[in-house]
């Protein structure tokens, strides 16, 4: 399938971070077009485009927007929230969009807000994204000065305020209800659903929450027209996605591809294959939370349905390539440690289960585990799955269960040999796990220049 760039079109050849550059390629034309249309007509285009959410769950964006009440039917304000708390391991596509085509994203925010009749949009930005924060705020200021947002947007009589809120470093705040809690100034923990945010979201008001990439797609949909957009990609997976390619691959990076491109095309043709003449062993196709694919499944197309058929998910579009040096038990331990560290602690199975998983995996990796404990591990995964308040618990249990299912012999060898068969030669050996990274960071007081300046100004401001 040919490469097709929509969102990142021209981003390699021009500077699109400035308004002038973006306008030169026809930027904000979609917004003008939208403002000339009825809200319902814009929504119809989104429904026609059948664009599915790019954050991970893949819920159709147009349908989600259609769940919100009409502004005349509710006494409450309607909010739009852009989820820019990108933190799924392996995922770095939103930062690419924010850094290189910030105006496209801003335009998407404004159009989406107009579509649902919202006067207030919030951008919840991952706290560690300092450069992205600066680029996006600069773009917002330019757009505001040019009348694309703020009071009386392009003379339409409609007002829109956009607020950028920076997170404080919690993966769970990327979960939509945890994000809303955090945005309201509370402890970032998910809420029970229903009620869904479309009915009772931010400040108990109707709220549409969309991922950065989803929102950045909106201007393109209006530009092409919903029906035409729907023809890009394959059935049930319309459009393009920005895939974050990482791991044991020659040319890691973000690549925008039409949905339906196979993993092999992405890894071998675009990514340049596996370095150092190693063998492909496994692929994580959609961020660390999805079940793994083996080398034999490398011809699976990157679209929602094909991935589901293969027993995994397209997730956040983060493709992690794993070569034959990697110990799958270590990988499982790393993944489980991440989710244990990021578990919010609200619901029992996730809080207790992820910690137990880490304990069991560590014991297996150290060669101390009994046969029974491998069964316990699988059973713990099974007992977490589907029993949690939000998807975080599943995100830990699903991949680990899949590593055992697809690489059981490797786990078995750890038990039989009483030691890790990779004997310290694993590609993960010596790489700090997130929990330990966190502790090491606290111990060493690593100073990142921008962060330090910011910390100092904060200290001054608060005395």
């Amino acid at each position: 399938m040919p490469r097709r760039e929509l969102l990142l079109e021209d981003a390699d050849t021009r500077d699109l971070t400035k308004l002038a550059g973006y306008e030169a390629i026809g930027g904000y034309a979609s917004l003008r077009k939208a403002l000339d249309m009825e809200r319902q007509a814009v929504l119809a285009e989104l429904l026609d485009a059948n664009v599915r959410g790019r954050g991970g769950a893949g819920f159709p964006m147009g349908r989600k927007a259609s769940f919100l009440p009409h502004p005349d039917d509710t006494p409450k304000p309607i909010y739009l929230v852009a989820n820019a708390d990108e933190s799924e391991p392996g995922t770095f596509k939103d930062r690419e969009i924010l850094l290189r085509v910030p105006h496209l994203f801003v335009e998407g925010v404004v159009i989406a807000a107009y579509t649902i009749g919202s006067g207030h949009a919030f951008i919840y930005l991952r706290g560690e994204y300092l450069a992205e924060f600066e680029v996006v705020t600069a773009a917002l200021e330019e757009a505001r000065a040019a009348g694309y947002l703020g009071k009386n947007v392009l003379g339409s009589g409609w007002d829109l305020t956009v607020v950028v809120h920076r997170g404080a470093g919690a993966y769970i705040c990327g979960e939509e209800t945890g994000l809303l809690e955090s945005l309201e100034g509370r402890r970032g923990q998910p809420r029970t659903k229903p009620p869904f945010p479309a009915i009772s979201g931010l400040y108990a008001s109707p709220t549409l929450i969309n991922n950065v990439e989803t929102l950045a797609t909106v201007p393109k949909i209006l530009e092409l027209g919903g029906k035409k957009y729907a023809r890009i990609g394959v059935e049930n997976s319309a459009g393009t996605r920005v895939f974050s390619l990482s791991g044991n691959v020659v040319n890691g990076g973000n690549y925008e591809l039409e949905l339906g491109t196979t993993l092999r095309e992405l890894i071998d043709e675009i990514g340049g294959g596996i370095p150092d003449g190693r063998e492909l062993k496994a692929i994580i196709p959609g961020g660390s939370s999805v079940p793994v694919l083996t080398a034999a499944e490398v011809d699976t197309p990157l679209d929602f349905d094909s991935m589901a058929q293969a027993g995994t998910m397209l997730g956040s579009g983060a493709v992690i390539v794993i070569d034959d040096r990697c110990c799958m038990v270590q990988l499982g331990l790393r993944v489980a440690q991440f989710y244990m560290h990021e578990s919010c602690g609200k619901c029992t199975p996730c809080r207790e289960g992820t910690r137990w998983m880490v304990q069991l995996l560590r014991k297996i990796e150290e060669g101390e585990a009994t046969q029974g404990e491998l069964d316990v591990l699988l059973n713990v995964c099974d007992r977490i799955l589907g029993n949690c308040l939000c998807p975080l618990g599943d995100a830990a249990a699903m991949p680990v269960a899949s590593y055992v299912a697809k690489f059981r012999d490797e786990f078995q060898r750890h038990i039989d040999e009483g030691a890790c068969p990779f004997g310290g030669e694993s590609s993960l050996a010596g790489v700090l796990a997130p929990v330990d990274q966190h502790d090491a960071h606290l111990r060493s007081q690593i100073e990142v220049p921008g962060i330090r300046a910011e910390r100092e100004s904060l200290t001054e401001a608060h005395g």
Binding site: E342, G345, C347, T348, R351, E352, W356, N387
Partner: protein
């Protein structure tokens, strides 16, 4: 009504009812830990209630679901999937729980223990060291926290956040390291902190006053009513070996919804205070007090009263039971022929037209709070009802020196008159008048002493009902626990009441109880009385003035009836036996000597169960009350005394409650502090009536300019106006 199927059984349930309740209505238990409807919307945190819902692939937290037509629910009894989920959750909950049931205070009355025995695994698959924390952590002198036992159901933090709204209990850290903590590690100092002890479904929060004192199988729980404030919360008095060991709440949904204040929960041990009066005392000329037999004390009392003729004054405490007050009133009226009495609370019967249960506050559109006393100090649980009303989107307007409308001290009667007037409403009350006018349901709360027995607020209620067509509920907060009952008893026995003579000698003064004994008006009368007969639990300045002192009893030691602020008669039951005869018994014996026959046994009637009549009969026939003139202005700042909840004879005798007592602080308006150059927290000198005292300055941005507030116990001997100044630098160094 909707039709729900639970475990194959069809149930008719009100639409929107929680499924835990729906299942319970047909005898099916859905086990829960975090679910507690009194804490607000369900959170679905513990996952213990996982059930299968037809049409949904995943198990659902039943506590977060409500009854909808056609819903088919399968609990662990009939669904293998649900049983699997439930057993998984219990295993996870117990994973790091210490299982120290043999030495845990909750053992035997622990929901986690009960559910584990019924649904849990018999052994553990956990082979790793359990998570440990430092323990127990004293989060206040009253509460110990064991973080290892905690299962993070967040009931305590939800109580703190959305019931008492003190915001002091929080969750810190995250994931497996999540802990319950107090905000900034400050002690949990709040009026209602003890409720978290009962909310905790495990032994993580235990009370320092009950820890290691008793086991569930060696205690008896006596159902009675708290006698420390006019709310009359229903309680269980837990007794062990004839002593009260703790107080638990007994949920009366109309009165207190199961919440108790810390005074009601923790002050019980004053029963066993060292300095309690145990034997009658009789004053003997030149030798001071001598212990006397009961008979000898009654002889002395009879002699003293006979010598006084009809020149007798009786001072009530408001803590007497209705039966006790009736007996004393009959002795004074029928036996001695006097009608001079000091009543702590007066009561206008016409207010009965606006009687409503306290829970009606939550349903009001507008709640108006009048009077200088903070509601939480006078009748604590009423404050929780007002907060509940505000959460239910009612408009709650406090009109007092530190309220939403900053009225002058002592102006509540005038405010009622102004709001009644309707036309020339003063500017600051205009918004309030508008809100009242448009309200359909109004709750009026009067929170200060009112010699007219609530007639001012009653007249306002009448106006709102007659002309505004609103449903009105009036809550006049008495100063004392049974002030309403005592006043009713006094007027039931005879006609009218005369005030004690303003000057001159008095034949005899009968002081009934410790609160009367600490009343300055009573001290003044005692100085003029030839004979003083006092009943009290503790020695005081006044017992020293007395001629005969009879040991008093506590509300936990008596049978009888209390009438709470709603006018609801409630039965007190004797939790523990006092060491001597109680008041009713010796009053009966004394009465006999004056030819009055009194039954020494309280016989509470079925009135305890009486329904509250709907407020549909309005008989406001008395002339409208005249608002008293405002106090004259003068130099300095106007003083408002706060009668703090955590004060009085009982609280003073509980070491663990001392941290709750009011600080030696003077509250100043921001402007008054800045003109005097006073910074918050600074030591200042407060002077009035020739008395000077050093207090700490507290700033209150809501306080009316020209007014200061000082807890009553730190404002002794002050007049109505005070001078506040900084400590001069020389003194403070």
């Amino acid at each position: 009504m909707v039709r729900v199927t639970i475990d194959g059984q069809e149930v008719l349930a009100p639409k929107g009812q929680g499924l835990v309740e729906t299942a319970a209505s047909v005898g099916i238990e859905i086990p829960v830990f975090c679910y507690e409807p009194r804490l607000g919307p369900p959170v679905g945190a513990c996952r213990m209630c996982l059930c299968e819902v037809e049409g949904l692939p995943k198990l659902q937290a039943a506590c977060t679901l409500t009854a909808t037509d056609g819903l088919v629910l399968r609990t662990a009894r009939t669904s293998e999937q649900a049983a699997g989920g439930q057993s998984a959750i219990l295993e996870f909950i117990l994973l790091n729980h210490p299982l120290d049931c043999p030495d845990c205070d909750k053992g035997g009355e622990c929901p986690l223990q009960d559910l584990t025995f019924r649904f849990g695994p018999g052994s553990t698959r956990m082979q790793f060291p359990k998570r440990t924390f430092d323990k127990p952590i004293p989060i206040s002198p009253l509460i110990a926290l064991d973080r290892e036992r905690c299962i993070l159901c967040y009931r305590c933090t939800r109580f703190s956040e959305s019931v008492s709204e003190d915001g002091q209990l929080v969750a810190a850290n995250r994931g497996a390291q999540s802990i319950i903590a107090t905000f900034e590690d400050e002690p949990y100092r709040a009026h209602f902190s003890g409720n978290v002890l009962e909310l905790c479904p495990v032994g993580a929060l235990t009370s320092t006053t009950y820890r290691f004192r008793a086991r569930p199988w060696e205690i008896q729980n006596v159902p009675t009513v708290c006698g420390l404030c006019p709310v009359g919360c229903n309680v269980w008095a837990t007794t062990r070996e004839g002593k009260v060991a703790r107080i638990l709440s007994r949920n009366h949904p109309e009165v207190h919804e199961g919440w108790l204040c810390d005074k009601g929960r923790f002050a019980y041990d004053h029963l066993r205070a060292e300095d309690r009066l145990r034997t009658p005392l009789v004053r003997v000329r030149r030798r001071g007090f001598e212990e006397a037999s009961h008979e000898a004390a009654l002889d002395a009392a009879e002699a003293g009263l006979r010598a006084a003729g009809s020149s007798v004054v009786v001072a009530f405490s408001g803590g007497e039971t209705v039966e006790q007050a009736t007996a004393l009133a009959r002795i004074v009226r029928e036996g001695l022929g006097s009608d001079a009495a000091l009543l702590p609370d007066d009561w206008d019967a016409a207010l009965d037209a606006f009687r409503a249960p306290l829970s009606a506050i939550r349903d009001a559109d507008v709640c108006l709070i009048l009077g200088d006393d903070p509601v939480v100090e006078r009748a604590p649980v009423v404050d929780l009802w007002l907060r509940a009303a505000r959460r239910a989107e009612a408009e709650v307007i406090a009109v007092n020196p530190a309220g939403d409308v900053q009225a002058a001290p002592g102006s509540a009667a005038q405010v009622c008159a102004d709001l009644r007037e309707g036309k020339k409403v003063p500017t600051e009350l205009r918004e309030t008048a508008k809100s009242l006018k448009s309200a359909k349901r109004v709750a009026l709360v009067w929170s200060e002493d009112d010699p007219t027995g609530g007639r001012h607020v009653g007249a306002l209620a009448n106006e709102l009902h007659e002309n505004g067509r609103a449903e009105v509920a009036v809550y006049v907060l008495p100063r004392t626990p049974n002030g309403r009952g005592v006043a009713t008893a006094w007027y039931t026995v005879g006609e009218g009441r005369s005030d004690p003579p303003g000057e001159g000698e008095i034949g005899a003064l009968v002081v009934s109880g410790d609160e009367a004994a600490s009343d300055p008006r009573v001290a003044d009368l005692a100085a003029r009385a030839s004979f003083v007969l006092t009943t009290a639990m503790f020695q005081s300045e006044l017992t020293a003035w007395s001629h005969v002192v009879l040991p008093g009893t506590s509300y936990l030691e008596r049978e009888g009836t209390y009438v709470n602020l709603e006018g609801r008669p409630q039965r007190l039951r004797r939790a523990v036996v006092p060491f001597g005869p109680d008041e009713l018994e010796w009053l009966a014996q004394l009465a006999e000597r004056f030819g009055v026959a009194i039954d020494p046994w309280a016989a509470p009637t079925a009135a305890e169960q009486a329904d509250l009549p709907p407020a549909d009969e309005f008989a406001w026939s008395r002339p409208d009350p005249q608002a008293p003139p405002g106090k004259p202005a003068g130099p300095g700042l106007e003083l408002v005394r706060i009668g703090a909840l955590f004060s009085g004879a009982a609280v003073e005798r509980i070491p663990q409650l001392q941290f709750q007592r009011p600080a030696a602080e003077v509250e100043l308006a921001h402007e008054d502090a800045s003109t005097r150059g006073i910074a918050p927290g600074e030591a200042v000198v407060v002077t009035s009536n020739g008395t000077s005292r050093e207090l700490r300055a507290g700033l209150n941005r809501k306080l009316r300019v020209g007014v200061v507030r000082i807890p009553a116990e730190h404002a002794k001997d002050f007049g109505d106006r005070v001078q506040v100044s900084r400590l001069s630098t020389g003194e403070s160094r």
